[in-house]
Subunit: 221 residues, 2 copies
Amino acid sequence: MYKKVIIADDLGSINLGVLTIANSLGLKNVERVEYCDDAYLKIKKGLLDKEPFDLLITDLSFKSDHREQKYPSGEDLIRILSNECPDLNIIVYSIEDRLQRVRRLVESYNIIGYVCKGRKGLDELAQAIRETYNSNLYLSEQVKQALNQKTALEIDDFDVLLLKDLSKGKSQEDISLKLKRKKISPSSLSSIEKRLNKLKIQFQANNTIHLVSIAKDLGLI
Amino acid sequence: MYKKVIIADDLGSINLGVLTIANSLGLKNVERVEYCDDAYLKIKKGLLDKEPFDLLITDLSFKSDHREQKYPSGEDLIRILSNECPDLNIIVYSIEDRLQRVRRLVESYNIIGYVCKGRKGLDELAQAIRETYNSNLYLSEQVKQALNQKTALEIDDFDVLLLKDLSKGKSQEDISLKLKRKKISPSSLSSIEKRLNKLKIQFQANNTIHLVSIAKDLGLI
DNA sequence: ATTTTAACTACGGAAATCCGTAAGGACATT
DNA sequence: AATGTCCTTACGGATTTCCGTAGTTAAAAT
């Protein structure tokens, strides 16, 4: 079983529940933090001390407060750790159940588990801890479909960039100019239009406002 | 102090934390439920038995599962209770911190407290329980401004209708035609354009996509 | 009753977008 | 080298939105 575990969640009461579960599973060495930055520091220190953590359980959204944070969100933390600590198992424990989100986390950052907070959340988390120890991916029931989605909606980074910029008020021409400046390959207004068209068909959106609205609902942006 | 309290939250671990706080405040008679419908039934039963609850602490979002619910969200529950049980004090305990949302709850349903889940959430909740017993409104620090916001006051149902329809993919002309059919007073394309213009200025939006995006982020729609 | 004020409406040109067509280039297959 | 495919880009007309001006109506104020 896991030797050294760290839990990151800014809600004290959640942390409490997770600790209880961890104890019931016989985990001895469990720490908890309320900020991603603290998690990062402790994990790095563990590496230096030759006593590395082998499991991180983290939420995705952390409230921001007076403390300036280098990694304000769980995803920021996961991104850096997936690079710097490939041996660390990461289980996400979040209220978020949007499939696109889960998909991205699993595929881009190689997390080993995703558990949705909910009525059965703690039970599922216990199961996730057990199953992931053998490097088996664990996903909550309600997000299991995130991966085997035949639809395999091929939404790439370019699409997401487009949608994000649009949602921030940029015009299509602005985006085109920005891409040209950055020397990013498809940059013409035509390409942008074509890409948006494809997305509108995929998501059955009537127009661009609708498209961005759907993308926000899906957690795509 | 409150005589009979009920807590509605679908996350077991949260419920646990809230119970701990309730106990530390000396509340003796505390029940907890994981579904809004259960809360409603218990509250109504309390009235029939002449032993009514005098405080409800509830979350806003409840995960939906196999159980069909009459009141799927905390807001649904609050709406019906604010009509049927005006003497019941209601404190919302939610992760949600969008001011528009808070504002609507306080003004439309007359809730007595709003506490944001967060690092200090349980402490604030304790304070809320103490202060609201004397019918004083309690709002978490981060949403205190929800009420004295002037800009918020200038957004009426028509604006919200407009933004919702836009986010659902309707064109401005479609909306105009729909309003004409429904005999709703401002219905011309001109009026719609003018109204959107006002909103864009208020929210400093570059264009309509941006505006709808902001409205979604604010919880306005 | 008259004036003032505010809101709704109409209109037209400018700008942005939508949408179809087609030319050009990169790349793999044969 | 020739062919086909995919992607990028360009262009032009249709539609929608943007934005300023101005006319109309309705209610409020005096």
